[in-house]
Symmetry: C2
C-alpha cells in the first residue's frame, strides 16, 4: 500500500480527531484513496501537555523546522487558530513545499488573497473545507459539484452558537444569558463568544462562501452584519405567532450583476428547511439557475465533524484532486469580480417592524401615513388590545410587502419621532 | 482559453439542457475549469426530429462512428436510457478512448461491475453523479466529501414520483390514481410509471449509493422492496394522527459488518428533515461516525437539475479529477465486500401495524397475546370507537417497541387467522 507522509500543526480537539482518524482508521484512506496517510510530525507549542490521543513515539515536537525540513512530508493539516502566528506558519509551510489543509476561517477571511496568491506562485495548494460549516462539505459542493450553475441565492445558518441560543429562546423562552451559559457548558460557545454573537463569525464564513458562489471579492468587514445579541424575546414570540422563526442568516442574493450580502437575524417561514434548523446545527440553502434549490444540513462545528472535513481534504490533496481544483478555480485571483456589491439600502425584501406605543387616537393613521409616504405597503398589522391604563406601552407589529431597506430605515426614523412611540423600531428582514 | 472537445450521445430533455449549458454558458466552465467544453458531435437516432436547442451546424449526426473515430473528443456525455443499446454504446465509447459521463442509473445498477472493470482495463473513467438524485450531488458527497467516515446509516427519498403522489395523498386526501395522473401531467411520472411506483427505481439507486457508502456489492434485484402503490389513505391518515408522515424510504443501516438494505413505505416522525421532504423533491440523510448526520435536499430529476450534474461531471472529467477518483476508489472492484447483507427478517425496528376487526370481547387480549408470544412489546394502541353495528369493520392500530421484522411477520400471519380480523395486517417500519 502506498504511503503519503503527512504532518499536523496544532493538536487541540480537532487535531486530536484528525490524528485518531488517521491512526485508528487507516483502512478508510486505503479504501478511498488507495493509500495510507502516515503521520510523521505533530508540531505543538508544549510537548508536555497531556493529549487525548496517543501518538507514535518521535512524532510530537515543538520544532516547526523539523516538519518544514522533512521533504518526505507533502501534506500538512494546519490547525492553528487566530491570525498570527497562523498566517506565518501557513506561509512557511507553503514555502517549504507542503500542500496545506486548514480549518482556519478567520485567517482565510482576513488574508485569503495573499495566501492563495502565494500558494499559486509556489505551485502549492490550500484546501479549506473545514473552515466553513464544519462537517457539511459546502466548499466542495459550491466550488465543484454545483459549478455548472449561476448561483442566484445563498442563505446560511453558519453560526452554531447563535442558532443554539435562539432555539432555546424561541422554543422554551430561555433568557439570552441562560441560553448562552448553556451553550458554553455544552462546549458550543467559546469562553469569549463575542464574535459568534455579533455576526462576525458568520460574516467571515459568508465572505468565503460568497467568493465561491458568486465570485464576489468582498472583505468580511465590509459585510453589513448584526448578531442575535440584541434580539428580544418579544420579537421571537411575535414571529412565531405569525408563522415564522427568527434565525441568524448569512444572506447573499444576486440580481443581474448586483449582489446583496448581509448577516442579520431574519424571519424564516416555519416549515421551510432553513426555519427547521435547530440546536447547534448549521445549514446552507443554495439556489442555482439549473439545479434549483439545494439544501445542506449538518454539524457545523465540533472536533469529530471538523476532523471529517480535514481528513477528506487531506485525502483529496494526497491523491492530487486538490491541486487540480486549486489550479482551475483560481480562487481569490480574479482580476475583476463578475459581480458588484450592492449598497445595503437597496436590499429589496419584506420586513417585520415592531415598536411600542401608548394609546393615542391617531396611532395607526400616523404610522400608516409615514409608511405610505415612503412607498411602503403594509401586509399585516397587529396591535395588542389596549389596556385600561392609558400610559401602558403596547407593541405594534407591522409586516410589509416588498420594499427597500433604505425606505424602511427612513420610515423607522420618522416613526420614532411620534410622541406616542416609546421604543426604537425593531426591523427584521423576512425571507421569501 | 484551452478547449476540451466533447460529445453527446442522446438528445432528449437532459441532453438539450446539457447542450444549452455548454453552448450558452461557456463562461462558467471557463471560470470553474479554466477551459471551454466544446461540443463536436451530438449523436441521435433521428437527425430530422425537431430539437429544443439549436446546435452549431455539422454537430448533429446519427452516426455514432463519427464520434468514436474522432480522437480529438475526450469526454462524452452518455444520455441514453434503458439497458440496450445503452450498454453497448458505453462499451464502444470506452473502447474508443473516451471518458464517459452518464445519467443512466438502471444501466449501472444492472451492469456496473462489468462497465467499471472494462473502463479500468482501458484506463478510462465513468462519472455518474446524475444517475442518483438528479441535482443533489450525493455521489460526490458520499464517495469524496464524507470519505473519512464509516457510514452507519443512509436514508433516502430517491423517487420523486412516489414522493409527489404520497404528498398529495397525505396533505389533500387526493386518491392515488388522481395524484398519479397529476404527476404525469406535470412531467414527474413516466407514461409507464411501474418502476417508480413499485420501488424498483429507488432500489436501483440504493444499490449504487449502498456500494459507495458501505462498500456493499448487492444487486438491486436482491434488495427487498415495496412501493407506494398499495399504501392506503387510511394508514396515511393514522400516521399523521400519531405525528408521522409516510415516505418511500431507501434504507441502509450498518451494525458491525451486517448491512440491512430495503426500500419500503415507512413512518418518519413529522418535523424531522426527511419527513418534511415534499412534492417531487429528493433527499438523503447520511450518518457518519465522525461527521454525524448530514442531510441533502434538492430536485431529484428534471432536465435542468440533471444537466447541472452531468456538466459538473464533464468538468471534473475534463480537468482530470474524475480519473483520479476512479483510480483510487476502485468502485465495484473490491475482491471482498467489507459488509454482509443481513437477512430481511433480522431487521430491528419499531413497526406500525393496522388491521380491521369486528366487535368481539377478546380482540385486545387475543392480539396482545400473539404479540407477546413473539416477544413484541406494544408502545401504542388505538382502536376507533366501536359503532352500533356489531358487524362494522373498524381499524385497530398498534405501534410496537423495537423488535424484528421476522417477529412481526409471524405475528401478523397469526393475527389474520382470528375470526374477528377482517383484513390483512398492514405493517410499516417506523424510522427512529
Amino acid at each position: 500500500m502506498d504511503k503519503t507522509f503527512v504532518g499536523l500543526v496544532g493538536m487541540g480537539n480537532v487535531g486530536a480527531g484528525v490524528a485518531r482518524l488517521l491512526l485508528d482508521h487507516g483502512d478508510r484512506t486505503a479504501r478511498h484513496a488507495g493509500r495510507i496517510l502516515w503521520i510523521r510530525h505533530v508540531v505543538v507549542r508544549d510537548v508536555l501537555k497531556p493529549r487525548p490521543v496517543e501518538l507514535p513515539s518521535g512524532v510530537l515536537t515543538d520544532d516547526l523546522d523539523r516538519l518544514l525540513n522533512d521533504s518526505s512530508v507533502s501534506v500538512v493539516a494546519h490547525l492553528v487558530g487566530g491570525i498570527e502566528p497562523a498566517r506565518t506558519i501557513m506561509l512557511r509551510l507553503l514555502e517549504s513545499g507542503k500542500d496545506v489543509v486548514t480549518a482556519n476561517k478567520a485567517l482565510l477571511a482576513e488574508h485569503g488573497p495573499e495566501l492563495f496568491d502565494r500558494a499559486r506562485e509556489l505551485g502549492r495548494s490550500i484546501a479549506f473545507e473545514a473552515s466553513v460549516a464544519g462537517g457539511i462539505p459546502i466548499i466542495a459542493n459550491i466550488s465543484q459539484c454545483l459549478n455548472a450553475n449561476r448561483v442566484e441565492s445563498l442563505r446560511g445558518i453558519l453560526n452554531g452558537t447563535s442558532n443554539y441560543i435562539i432555539t432555546r429562546m424561541s422554543e422554551e423562552g430561555t433568557p439570552f444569558s441562560d441560553a448562552l451559559a448553556a451553550a458554553q457548558r455544552l462546549g458550543f460557545a467559546e469562553a469569549d463568544p463575542a464574535m459568534d454573537l455579533d455576526g462576525t463569525d458568520a460574516a467571515q464564513k459568508l465572505a468565503i462562501l460568497g467568493h465561491l458562489a458568486f465570485g464576489s471579492a468582498v472583505h468580511w468587514n465590509q459585510i453589513p452584519r448584526r448578531g442575535i445579541d440584541d434580539v428580544s424575546a418579544l420579537d421571537l414570540s411575535f414571529a412565531a405567532q405569525f408563522g415564522y422563526r427568527v434565525k441568524l442568516v448569512a444572506y447573499g442574493q444576486l440580481e443581474g450583476r448586483s449582489l446583496q450580502v448581509r448577516v442579520a437575524p431574519m424571519l424564516v417561514r416555519a416549515g421551510t428547511p432553513l426555519a427547521e434548523v435547530r440546536e447547534n446545527y448549521n445549514a446552507i440553502s443554495v439556489v442555482g439557475d439549473f439545479v434549483g434549490p439545494v439544501f445542506f444540513h449538518g454539524q457545523g462545528a465540533g472536533p469529530a465533524p471538523t476532523a471529517s472535513a480535514v481528513v477528506a481534504d487531506m485525502i483529496d490533496t494526497a491523491v492530487g484532486r486538490t491541486r487540480i481544483t486549486f489550479q482551475t478555480l483560481r480562487l481569490w485571483s480574479e482580476i475583476e469580480s463578475p459581480v458588484v456589491i450592492e449598497s445595503a439600502g437597496r436590499l429589496a425584501a419584506k420586513f417585520y417592524l415592531r415598536f411600542n406605543v401608548v394609546e393615542h387616537p391617531t396611532v395607526l393613521a400616523d404610522v400608516a401615513g409615514v409608511l405610505n409616504r415612503h412607498g411602503i405597503s403594509i401586509a399585516t398589522v397587529y396591535q395588542q388590545d389596549l389596556e385600561e391604563d392609558p400610559e401602558a406601552e403596547l407593541p405594534l407589529v407591522l409586516m410589509t410587502h416588498r420594499t427597500t431597506l433604505a425606505a424602511v430605515e427612513s420610515a423607522a426614523e420618522e416613526i420614532t419621532r411620534f410622541e406616542f412611540v416609546r421604543s426604537a423600531v425593531e426591523r427584521l428582514q423576512i425571507l421569501d
